[in-house]
Amino acid sequence: MTRNSFSHLKNQAIGTGYLRKDGRIGIRNRLLILYTSPCAEFAARKISQAFSPNTVEVLGFTRNCTSSFTEMKLKKYLTHPNIGGALIVSHSSEGLDSSNLLKEALLSGRCAALLSLDHNRGIANSINQGLLLVKDLLASLSVNPSQPLRFSDLIIGAECGGSDFTSGISANPLVGRLFDMLVDLGSTVLFEEMYEAVGLKDYLISRCQTAEAAREISCTYDKFLKYSKEHNQFFITPGNMKGGLTTIEEKSMGTVSKSGSRPIQGVVKIGQIPKKPGLWLMDSMSDTEEGCGPYISEDATSLLVYPCCGTILNILTSGRGHLINTPVTPTLKITGNRETYSRLSNDIDFDASPMLYGEKNPDELADALLELVLQTINGQLSKGEALGHRDGFINHEKQFSQIAPYTGGIIYG
């Protein structure tokens, strides 16, 4: 059992957040400018650049085709608890009915407006109108956080990127220890990257809480392995190898250590929010025969899927170093590589290397990391947020809502 210095805070207020109409609590209260096609991106970004990224964030869909699945994802961003209001910037060349997005945002209690570029004469005029709309919307957002926040309100996702030889023995197991503490305190935590769990199917199944969870893990593992085999695309990069990792199996053992040791409750698909607290796996890969988007896996885009499953904070571990931060859900970055931290200390939030050097024991570091999490959920900006990073694409996946043995088409990468 992991020592837990925070157990006295279980069920206690650990901060304040923003209460939303659906009962969820956000740790930020930002206005989201959401563009719904690439043709609307320029205007959306121009509008956003007139404001601080810590007040107004911009995010959008970079493909022109659309589906009910994409619409669902866009709605998840609009109604995410960290988002207090939204300006939807749309263009008629897309297949999406943006009025549905507006309705969803308004129904959720957000202040929201729709800017249709082709209903205005010219880009310059549209941008000017958008600026006025944002100013109006921001006036409605000026509230202070007042809702007591408890560990049970937290949903946190973790990912690794740019892994090296230190990742599997420092930053990732440290996050695993943090996740154990959070689960014990009643939080919900998610991990993903099943493509980096190669060889660990039996291990993951053995950790499942129920037979149904085991079935879900099994199906999901098989899907990812099938993808990797059929595309000869195993997720170990040149950078991983330069960093001292040798095989996907070695990388996988480090990756999975982020999940800690608590029972796995099951698998959530994109857009599903875990039904109860505990440890969950998020499956971010398309599993439809009719998918019309590539399976793009890069860390920023993968992290951006987490908010669709309700995470209010993301954690990214990196041995070689990462600079990114996710829109909607802030990202805390951790490295266990001392040289990386000293090089990128303006970008990386937490140095886990004392664990590797035996200077601090894992419990001490996990406590310090949880302290950082608490500061961040109470408004302290992550380093990526402070630098203005807002990275990642909204990808075009399609998924079945049910988890079943994978027999479908292959998503081209």
Partner: protein
């Protein structure tokens, strides 16, 4: 008809261009922010644009697109921004730029962090600009010019195809340049759906043959993604997948379609539009056209009105200042958009 002339740039590798820009090319989406911030912070007198890979992987078509853009005649110099973990190797892109005798630098942001990378990037931009800014324009024949033409937002591009396009094409052909059309513009929503239902390479091949047969223009040939025409005349660019049609990237926007033409060498892309908005593309200026029957348009953001009787001389009068360096409406707005996408095409040869 003899060549018409314009004033453009001739590169060390023999390519020609109508702009002398620095391209910031990011190799992975993790570096997009740093690349974009360098572009935003660049001094106003340095023409700089940014585009890159939205993925981490090294899909062959993405690499071909990158190589073609590095060698593009409108690009005077290249700043490659990588992260350090990704599959695409920035050093190989740098080698390719050097092979084309194009000034180039590389910056791996993992080495420096966000703020320092932006500082270094700006310094590298200055170095590159110093190397290319005095390149003079010189008279160049229109026969070396490649013009793209694709749907710029008209709900019914077919109207343009039936009314204005023949006139445009004959004008352009009379000017002895190469003109690229995009195969996707000849697909209806229904035929696109049909395409995406295809399973085998053979089915896809038959589908494409049937589409080509019904296009009412005579082409010099069909170009795959990032192939460039080898003689003047009308060419068709095929950006559709040769395999995995059901899972591919068929449904694109006008910006993507314009980029397909730019990756096949277009120096300028003409985009017939409905007049209600403009789009712009990186690398090659977008020229927004509206048919004369459209009366409700923001005219200051429109470059040209096409009439049924538009003559070659009139078209050339419009094009020549743009070819000579005058900004289009989208350039004036600072619109240099686009992402590079992967695809699944069988490419007959390596890009040289």
């Amino acid at each position: 008809m003899d060549d018409l002339f314009f004033s453009g740039y001739e590169r060390a590798d023999g390519q020609i261009g109508i702009r002398n820009s620095i391209l910031i090319l990011y190799t992975v989406n993790c570096s997009a922010f740093v690349a974009q911030q360098i572009c935003r912070a660049a001094p106003k007198d340095i023409p700089v644009q940014v585009i890159g890979n939205g993925s981490c992987f090294d899909n062959q078509i993405i690499i071909y697109r990158m190589l073609r853009l590095i060698a593009h005649g409108n690009v005077g110099a290249v700043l490659i921004v990588g992260h350090g973990c990704e599959f695409i190797q920035g050093n190989l892109l740098l080698n390719y730029a050097e092979k084309h005798r194009k000034p180039a630098r590389i910056l791996m942001d993992q080495n420096y962090g966000t703020s320092r990378s932006i500082e270094i990037g700006l310094s590298l931009l200055q170095e590159l600009w110093t190397e290319i800014k005095f390149l003079p324009r010189k008279p160049l024949p229109s026969s070396r010019l490649i013009i793209g033409l694709t749907n710029g937002g008209l709900p019914t591009f077919s109207h343009i195809l039936s009314s204005c396009l023949p006139q445009l094409l004959s004008s352009a052909q009379a000017a002895c340049c190469s003109v690229l059309l995009n195969l996707q513009d000849f697909l209806t929503a229904q035929s696109m759906q049909t395409f995406q239902s295809l399973k085998s390479e053979e089915e896809i091949s038959h589908f494409k043959a049937a589409v080509l047969k019904n296009i009412p223009f005579a082409f010099q040939g069909v170009l795959k993604i990032s192939q460039i025409p080898d003689c003047c005349g009308l060419w068709l660019v095929d950006p559709l997948q040769d395999r995995h049609a059901e899972t591919g990237i068929a449904a694109t926007c006008p910006i993507d379609q314009a980029l397909d033409l730019i990756c096949s060498g277009a120096h300028l892309v003409m985009l017939p539009s409905n007049g209600h908005f403009v789009i712009g593309t990186a690398i090659a200026p977008a020229l927004i056209l509206i048919p004369e029957y459209i009366s409700e348009a923001c005219m200051e953001e429109i470059d040209f009105t096409i009439k049924e009787k538009t003559s070659m001389e009139t078209l050339w009068e419009t094009l020549r200042p743009v070819l000579n360096g005058a900004f289009t409406a989208s350039e004036n707005l600072g619109m240099y958009d686009g992402y590079l996408l992967g695809s699944a095409q069988t490419f007959p040869e390596k890009i040289s």
